[in-house]
Symmetry: C2
Subunit: 657 residues, 2 copies
């Protein structure tokens, strides 16, 4: 007799409750509640090969409700993902295990994205589904044809980012995206009605999704619903009515199963009820076999795909893009652009220089896909004649993300995780606060996503303090594994774009100006000076008594201050600091030289001083902002807040005594 | 003949296009498009008295689409708000004017909240409507009975926070909240269909709102819809189909009217078409009179209300709460709690100490209203026996915000702006990234909102890096006008709560631990030592050779390190740094003394080092995190990442040489 689906699902339940019990920490409720849906999905619908977690044309499974990680770990173990041994299951939530509290991509094979921050799994999945449609349009369904399946809980759907994600997916008619909502009526604080009265089904429908509601414990209904989902011409939601902690002897349906071990007594009673053996972590041989057989099913499909790829003229290009390797001549046009800029010394806003750099890159790196959160003209993110990535032809390379900064950033993470795409997207820098949770998750995962953040200071001008970043540079510089670039002119902007594209495991944050700046890099350089993070842009005439540090638009302020000081015979050097993170990675000797500790040190940046002691020490002077901005023309604001060459020179002289 | 509504609306249009033209910067499209709706609202429905912008029982008008500021400024000018002179209109977007690019509360009388960051006006308005319902339940409809009216654009409704806001409002059945959606089919990048295909009306209905669609230029329809809204038993949405830039001679309906001056030719043609005089900023006397009469209408209601208040037994209490003054004995029980803690030296997590402090405050400060984003038990935000603020009885003092960190923070801003309520709300600290945009807006506005952020470091343990703040302390400390508190034990936690409540114009961020810490403040103190921001907690035995700085849970690590060093005869002082912002505000002499520049300086904090040079200089040692956390029991993580007393002592000794 074949093993029943119910029994296979119980294997997930038992492993999940045992692992949480052993760790004395974790979330058994969701894995137990969604075990039936997961079992049908992973045995009948999901396209994967457990022996090749990195098969490019696999379906993506995203556990947006990442606290239910034991559901995913159980599935990976049962279906035979090599890294997910029983010992790893037993080491749930322990140091260095493959089974951390929340799933972590690149740490555990079979995990497609790091989840835990609610709502973001869903929003990331939208990006994966976009990348799939895009690459399918580009390379054909023979090579790219897979689905993205998401499990989401009430928490995911309460988070605002879920709105941005489902609107965007609905607008783009991402028909290969399916969300299975764990509709269990429970949140941490108690019944979901404590804080929610919305109609999720009507909501998804309003966003253009196909919708269906089922009993999430009825295998037949689950099977029919998943089959139905694969036939829709738009994204689909399956509302799965479930009981949290399903199967638990006495606690089934109770919010206390959400986030704590069930306890030995309950577990024993649950085993009894299920007719399961007493030994923790034990899975009967026939159940185990049935699961492993499901895990092997995709091998045939995978091999057929490999054969198609091998025979395809697109093989080299697609393989390269999927590996994340840049074309050999990726930067040839950019180098020419830099040489041209050194010669012509263009004065413009750095956002415009960024647009010019993009002009030189976009044609050379076909996997770049741009976009903006409804600020295309302001962000200078659009390269002329680019087609829009839209339904029904997804081959375009520019996305109209709408006013959805967070959804955009999360979708970009998903595209980068999917592979074959290098996403960049524009927004006003002050609203990096909106996308910050996804910027962080991208930094934690280590994905190549480029956040084009324009209007980077009081230089915004009349739009006023709500639109003027002040603390954002510091707040972003504090984040691990994020390169924050603030280039000063055309040359630095192009250099920083190159560094962003070369950083395959680190997202980049480009802080770009609204207002015009003069060229400061007016001499040819054999090396990418921005790669050092900070470097001496101008040496002192005579002995250096003063060092001025600056980034971005204030580099020209620093140079003007240097002129004032040198005119009085005070030897002054200027250090440009386009990327603090890269500077911190330089050898100590280089850093010491650049910092110029023997000199009076002054920093100028139209931003909060927080963190600048790293360059100027405790005794240096800082010229910048000590509060929020104001609404007025930009040049007046610079004077009003005293971010001027005169102020820098005066600060230096005051320190010189 | 009475002046036609249409003509009154044209006055808004003309002032708006003239002001934007004069500034050569701004957004005429929205004010012109929504002028008809605004005119009907401000002449027939909105309860206000232009001579008393601070009348407590006025209706609140929130321009969520804050870029349409000239709509609001025109209304304030036309209805006779004293501060809004014609000169101010002419100084639109100029330094120090009352007419900044986006409306700023406390800067311009009549502006109820600062808007511009899209979606937040709506989310803030939800908090205002909650405060109104709460105070109405508490004080009766005689004293509190007003509506909240919101104008929102497509951008507001695309932002994720709009989902959190409308779900929460729907759940709470906030029937005195009405949103007028400027349904103009246009976003900055072009037609709204570029990025949106959702059905907003179905969406709001799914969230439990009453919905209605009208022609936003038909005065009769507008009037009937606004009247309809006042009769609903739930929040209401009026979808106002409008033309952006309505009235503009040739550009009406075009997205180019959104964010730039129309130009002299278009303006002249528009004046012609409207039959309006040529002189910029001119409003004909009869039109002006009609508007001023509307602005005076509410005076009678206001006087009647004042009389009712004067006669009410609640007068003293309500007046005090509305002024934002704390009760005279607000801290009596807290002082007793502190004295008790000094004596009993309780060891517990600082989130638990926070719960104990709340126990001592909640009864004494009746305007405190708490809540949590579905983490009540974890955040320790609930005071026993508190009723839930819910429909139909809004008198409760605890809100089940649901998994809506951003919506919660924005609603708290709205409650604080409304007045009569001091809101606090709990979340996991790592998800302060989600609420950050509202935390910033609260800091910019200067409102008393207390963000209770628990699980503040790798001390989170098994939940892993997605749930462990690393850079958040630095990112928050970088923000202007936000007090970031990280108390070390029961006494500091209580002190910090007092400081948060006393800071009437600064929001507070309480970083609290999940894990247990020993008491460190074991001696009675006459003053609130945390008020200094940083202070010497333990002097050195003998001459001080080392200073160790720490905050929160690492203060006990610092003390243990001191023991190790003193055991070797190395005089070591320990400085606790519960609030950097307050320390920065101390006199230089005090700061110098605390910093102990002559000594070897070491800081320990289970967080990123960013910003610590402020205490330890360039040559000090930092013991903490240099990347993201990991999933494992907390005590193991502290060892794994080397945040230990031994590491601190070793760092000090290495610096001593």
């Amino acid at each position: 007799m074949p093993v029943q689906m119910q029994t296979m699902a119980d294997a997930i339940r038992v492993l999940s409750m045992d692992a949480v019990e052993q760790a004395a920490s974790g979330h058994p409720g969701m894995p137990m509640g969604m075990a039936d849906v997961a079992t049908v999905l992973w045995t009948k619908f999901l396209k994967y090969d457990a022996s090749r977690p990195d098969w490019a044309d696999r379906d993506r499974f995203v556990l947006s409700a990442g606290h239910g990680s034991m559901l995913l770990y159980s599935l990976l173990h049962l279906t035979g993902f090599k890294a997910m041994t029983l010992d790893q299951i037993k080491a749930f939530r322990q140091l260095n295990s493959k089974t951390p509290g929340h799933p972590e991509v690149f740490h555990t094979p079979g995990v497609e994205t790091t989840t835990g921050p609610l709502g973001q799994g869903l929003a990331t999945a939208v990006g994966m589904a976009m990348a799939e449609r895009h690459l399918a349009a580009k390379y054909g369904a023979d090579l790219v044809d897979h689905r993205t399946w998401v499990m989401a809980g009430d928490g995911c759907l309460m988070e605002g980012v879920s709105h941005e994600a489902i609107s965007l997916a609905g607008r783009l008619k991402l028909n290969k995206l399916t969300v299975m909502w764990d509709d269990n009526n429970v949140t941490i604080d108690g019944p979901v009605t404590l804080s929610e009265s919305g109609d999720q089904i009507a909501r998804f429908k309003a966003a253009g999704w196909a919708v269906k509601a089922i009993d999430g414990h009825d295998v037949g209904q689950i099977r029919r619903a998943l089959a139905w989902a694969t036939k829709q011409d738009r994204p689909s939601l399956i509302a799965c009515k479930t009981k949290i902690g399903k199967g638990a002897a006495t606690m089934e349906g109770h919010h206390k199963t959400h986030g704590a071990a069930l306890g030995a007594t309950e577990i024993a009673a649950t085993r009894d009820k299920m007719g399961w053996g007493a030994e923790p972590f034990h899975v009967p041989e026939d159940v185990s076999k049935a699961w492993r057989s499901a895990g092997r099913k995709g091998a045939k499909l995978r091999k057929a795909w490999e054969a198609r790829l091998a025979a395809s003229p697109a093989k080299t290009d697609l393989t390269r893009a999927l590996k994340g390797e840049l074309p050999a001549d990726a930067f040839a046009r950019l180098d020419a652009h830099i040489a041209e800029a050194v010669a012509s010394k263009p004065a413009a806003a750095t956002r415009q220089h960024s647009g010019s750099a993009l002009d030189a890159l976009f044609g050379s790196i076909p996997e770049m896909v741009g976009g903006s959160a409804d600020l295309t003209g302001s962000n200078n993110t659009f390269v002329k004649n680019t087609q829009i990535l839209d339904e029904p032809d997804y081959s375009g390379r520019y996305v109209n993300y709408g006013v959805r900064e967070f959804g955009m950033a999360a979708a970009m993470n998903g595209m980068a995780l999917h592979g074959g795409v290098i996403p960049y997207g524009g927004a006003f820098m002050v609203f990096s606060d909106y996308s910050r949770p996804a910027i962080r998750l991208g930094a934690l995962m280590g994905v190549r996503v480029i956040h084009v953040m324009t209007h980077d200071s009081i230089g915004v001008g009349e739009d006023g303090p709500t639109h003027q970043p002040v603390e954002h540079l510091a707040a972003m510089r504090a984040m691990p594994n994020l390169n924050v670039f603030r280039p000063a002119d055309a040359v630095e902007t192009a250099e920083c774009w190159r560094l962003a594209l070369e950083a395959a495991k680190t997202p980049s944050f480009m802080a770009l100006s609204r207002q015009k700046v003069p060229a400061v890099r007016t001499e040819a350089s054999a090396e990418n000076l921005s790669a050092k993070g900070a470097y001496e842009l101008r040496a002192a005439d005579g002995a250096a008594k003063v060092t001025i540090f600056a980034s971005g638009t204030e580099v020209s302020v620093a140079l003007a201050a240097r002129d004032l000081l040198q005119a009085e015979g005070i030897g002054t050097r200027v250090v440009s600091t386009p990327c603090w993170e890269l500077f911190a990675a330089q050898p100590a000797a280089y850093r010491t030289k650049v910092l110029g500790k023997g000199t009076v040190r002054v920093a100028v940046e139209a931003a909060a001083s927080f963190g600048w002691e790293r360059f100027i020490g405790e005794d240096g002077a800082f010229v910048g902002m000590d509060g929020f901005g104001a609404s007025a023309p930009a040049d007046q604001l610079y004077k009003h807040f005293g971010v001027t060459a005169e102020a820098v020179a005066a600060a230096a002289k005051s320190k010189l005594g």
